[in-house]
Amino acid sequence: MDTGRVTLAVFRKDLVAERRTKEVFTAVLLFGFTVSVAFTFAFEPTSAEARKITGGLLWLAFLFSAVLGLNRAFARETSNQCLQGLRLIPADLGGVYLGKLASNLLFLLLAELVLLPPFGVFFDLTLWARPGWLFLILLLGTWGLAALGTMFSAVSANTRMQELMLPLLLLPLTVPVLIAAIESTVILLEGRPMSEAALWIKLLTGFDIVFTLLCWLLFDYVIQE
């Protein structure tokens, strides 16, 4: 069995599991919504100054809810010895990583797309002026979070701390993603020309490629017994 088929099989398995339990999607969505509401108490949400920091708030809400959802990615595999089953796949285990990454990316993106309209209403934002760019930033930023998040989810599932380890590892390492995603979102929301965001888009793309490849190569070491 080659990597592509393992990837696809794991991806499909996760879709089925998620369709039946809906635990990741619902939790991410509800938590993201609650956090966005909590943010509005920190300052006057529709003022002109608020416009400058909403890009940052949006990504912080995404990051926090992503941590919540990503924890489930491998925590769900620890019951009933599912992890053992995955280990026994007679093929490249990197495929397990890629499949998990794909399903996490899909769940997070869907949740974010549902979260955006209420966020836009709360903070009085014009989100949909350039939908193509918005989606590109969302995709690249979320991919960066998911690439390292999926990996660290597997790492923390193997520790005594379980859920507590993921944010400790993920937050400092995803600083470049956060900065780049926030900066390009602010440029988008303020209606400035997107050429100003070229550097940030490049940084995001580079980060995503480097860490997807690296995690794929190293995943064997995380999951083996």
């Binding site: 390492l173 940084l203 190293l218």
Partner: protein, 230 residues
């Protein structure tokens, strides 16, 4: 090397480190010229720069140890990575404390979210998380494996963190050492900083070897305990 020889070696290292550090301090406070604009506070430089350089060196050793462990599976590499991470975190803390002390009188603020400051802080957080992870995995082989993966990912991340912050905002002076025209250190300052670096390097190596030895002893102890139980 037997136990008593090892003991004598670390004692010798300690004496050399103390001599170097004390004389470097003397040099820094009495011999080195006072910086023209910053005044005497600039002398904190003789701790700040060598400590920063040493912590980066230590984190590089973590990376090398991590890669070597995953390729050879010899526990010694894991012990080296763990020891280097602890030494690196200590020196990184020294940088993060001495930096604001210097910045307050010169820049007028304790802290600024400049590229190098932010990167150093993030670096500190990454390796504290690395040490946390080590604490929460019981099985030594698994601990070594997971820590090595984090040691590699963390190191690769550092240049990206730096670039992101550099493009975002930066306040540090243009590089003084190996910078452009009109930059550069007074030769006497050079001597002071090299001297201080030699002292701290000796001290860091001592800490490193002691920590490494502790890891080795801990592994031996675990093995003996396991044999006893059998």
């Amino acid at each position: 090397m037997n136990e008593s020889a090892r003991h004598r070696l670390s004692l010798a290292l300690l004496v050399v480190a103390l001599l170097l550090i004390v004389s470097a301090w003397y040099y820094a406070f009495q011999v080195a010229p006072t910086e023209r604009t910053m005044g005497t506070i600039q002398r904190i430089f003789y701790l700040h720069l060598p400590a920063a350089f040493l912590s980066f060196l230590a984190f590089f050793v973590v990376f090398v140890g991590s890669v070597a462990y995953l390729t050879t599976r010899r526990m010694g590499w894991d012990w080296a990575a763990a020891s280097a991470a602890e030494v690196g975190v200590v020196f990184c803390a020294a940088v993060l404390i001495s930096g604001p002390l210097w910045a307050k009188p010169v820049w007028g603020i304790w802290w600024t979210w400049d590229a190098r400051l932010t990167t150093t802080l993030i670096l500190f957080l990454i390796y504290v998380a690395y040490l946390m992870l080590r604490l929460y995995v019981t099985d030594s082989e698994r601990r070594a494996r997971l820590a090595a993966v984090v040691g590699i990912l963390g190191f690769v991340d550092v240049p990206l963190v730096y670039m992101a912050n550099r493009w975002w905002r930066t306040q540090h002076p243009e590089p003084v050492i190996a910078g452009g025209e009109g930059s550069g250190l007074d030769p006497q300052m050079w001597w002071g900083v090299l001297w201080a670096f030699a002292g701290l390097l000796t001290f860091a190596s001592l800490l490193f070897f002691q920590r490494y030895r502790m890891e080795a002893m801990r592994a031996e102890l675990t093995q003996l305990a396991r044999r006893l139980r059998r």
